[in-house]
Amino acid sequence: MADEKTVIFPVEATHIMMFRRSIGDYSVPDTGRETAAAPPTFPRAVAQFDPDYHLRIRPGVEWFGSGKSPSGVKGTPPSSGGLHAEQHFEFIRPVRPGDVLTVTEKLGKTWEKESKRAGKLIFTERVVEYRDPQGELVCVSRGVSVKTERPVDQK
């Protein structure tokens, strides 16, 4: 993945409606025509607009999920794609239907740690800025993902 990339994120009412349903949020009428602010974790759904997002089936790229065999990719690491360790959002203003956000993701720090439950852990931080067409900052998010040496032991 590149150290920095920019994606345009058109924020649509129907997308927010479906997102609300998926997190069990029925605080807003379920019409897909509402203008209410999106839930605070919605900005991560920008993944839908990233042409190279690695956790979606893409033309010409082998998918690591199951089909005829348990994984479509030989030699897949046991916890392919890593796990999510932390996520933070800070809002200058809410995200609303009709926003067209320019989203820039930058690679942040990386660090390692030893864990009893999953072996060596490699943490990677990504900082994402969401700006309106005037260049004004709307939201900043910071995510930390972790690649584990082996699947996390279940107690």
Binding site: F64, P70, P78, H88, P151
Partner: protein, 138 residues
Amino acid sequence: MKASQISVGDTFEDVLVKDLKRTQLVMYAGTSGDYNPLHTDDVYCREAAGYPGVFAHGMLTMGMTGRVVTDRFGAENVKKYGVRFTNQVWPGDDLTGKAVVEAIREENGETLVDLAITTTNQKGDVVLTGYATARAEK
């Protein structure tokens, strides 16, 4: 929520989900765009990834937990929301989200409420810890 209705130490608690269904994980994959098979593909999990089965996106747990804040303050009033994922969430889990008022303060003419957040499963294991800051009505 009005600032006058809130005191430091107040606790807000909601049952977020009972008996989490695999279909909910599929719904979240579809809306978020995170189609990682770890969350939707039992065969991949068991036979390729070494997990007992699919487990929830951390962001699904964070999204459900956010309702404890947004149901009371409104999504438009959330200024900050951050979490650490401390344990995996599995189909069948019951989750309860809790937010404790840690501070009420004035900043740039707004009344802000700082909340400490935890989500626990049916065994009492903490699956998420975090914080939020929300604007309260005058």
